[in-house]
Symmetry: C2
Subunit: 293 residues, 2 copies
Amino acid sequence: MSEVDRAVDDAPLAIICGGGSFPHAVADAVARTGRRIVLFGLTGWADPAAIARYPHHWARLGQFGRFRRLARAEGCREVVFIGSVVRPSIRQLRPDLATLRLLPRIVALFRGGDDHLLTGVARIFEEHGFRLRGAHEVAPEILVPEGTLGRQRPRPRDLADIERGLALIAAVGPFDIGQAVVVADHRVIAVEAAEGTDGMLARVADMRRADRLALPEGVGVLVKATKPDQDRRLDLPSVGASTVAAAAKAGLAGIAVEASGAITDDLETLIRDADAAGLFVVGVPASGPQARS
Amino acid sequence: MSEVDRAVDDAPLAIICGGGSFPHAVADAVARTGRRIVLFGLTGWADPAAIARYPHHWARLGQFGRFRRLARAEGCREVVFIGSVVRPSIRQLRPDLATLRLLPRIVALFRGGDDHLLTGVARIFEEHGFRLRGAHEVAPEILVPEGTLGRQRPRPRDLADIERGLALIAAVGPFDIGQAVVVADHRVIAVEAAEGTDGMLARVADMRRADRLALPEGVGVLVKATKPDQDRRLDLPSVGASTVAAAAKAGLAGIAVEASGAITDDLETLIRDADAAGLFVVGVPASGPQARS
């Protein structure tokens, strides 16, 4: 490790926190390594109680100048984005001066999918001297491990559905849409786009209830994986307690996530919930489930 | 035309009718040509009042033996499938004897997407001496023509969204899922799978209302097209009055359908409704919209 790299690593880590419990999981994991962290809570998204547990500041979406000033004052050179933020409209941004200067560029970034937007935002941070790190790099314990994680094991029919799901996610990769699909009995039931995974699972539950799917209970798999070429520092697919609850309501057999390509805030609870609901949870290599079925 | 072909063409046409208004549109169009038709209403799906307007029989899904006997007695050798049928579960079928004998094959057909199922059913009909025709072959006037069909014209930004939508439909073709997507500002908002087009558009309307999309009104296009390799005799994408209403509720700019690859039951009403709602409707060649923008 060069002197420069070490200096960067020893400096405090800026964690820009959206909603949900992932920011806390990442903050705790990094803090356990002894590294100093500074949280930047996004107003309206981050959970104030959790943010208050560490040195922190608040900023609004669009206050890039404020972030830059505070992060520099704290000596932060590395930045992590973590947590949920529902995509705002440009009109909802309250840009500060630094952001205003970047506005033509930001307007162009808004014309496209989430990857396109996030990649552009990341580039802006990097041009201003910050190094973007993935949450999974600074807190690798949040990555879902490979293999069958709970008591239930996927059956051969589930493995076939998983494989089809992974292939579909790979095929739609260039279109910068969701990272999740539901496949049941070799049939693609739902494809995630702007509605998010929980929204997609609620739709599957609705269709099942209305008898639109003509599928027996306990058939069908939620498959989540990173898109090919996705910048993993920006937006890794995540699973958590709400995913398990939504998959159970949708009558699925289980959940397959790309091992080392999806994150979870609390693996223990996730597995306990899945066991209680009778769902399997399996971490599959990106190339398909066979290697570790 | 050979003698055999002529004999087939002169024989009455069996039209197996599901729900919605397409069966009537097709029946009327074929009747106008002077050809005799015999409708086979699917119990629970076909509209009794409309079926009664022509010589007809009723049959349940799963009564293949009954269909075969009646169609032969009527002298029908060509068959058209038209109208909506929500996919039943195998358990909902009430197979007659002929269908029972085919059951192992039918069970296998149910394990997969709709194309897989329909193609297999079509093969069964053909093995029993019926020739399957596409609704668009016997009633070409139901095909959506090419070009701008109403008063509104797509803008360049809409054409870009249309192109992205067509490319996505082509990419997911091998996965035998829906034939429609919504693209707005180069971003894929929704992908249709088992929920159907109106279900997908209702979701877009919901997300828009909940401010999840961060898109201005009047941005976004519904794109519908046949999948590559789709058997057009079985399931052509359709647009109708409900499509226009749902697209308007979803705040879209317009509708693009593959010209000569999508059908409509009443083009005049569709265009009138679209004009009234301020939506464009455009028939695009499968290769993209540029050729006729």
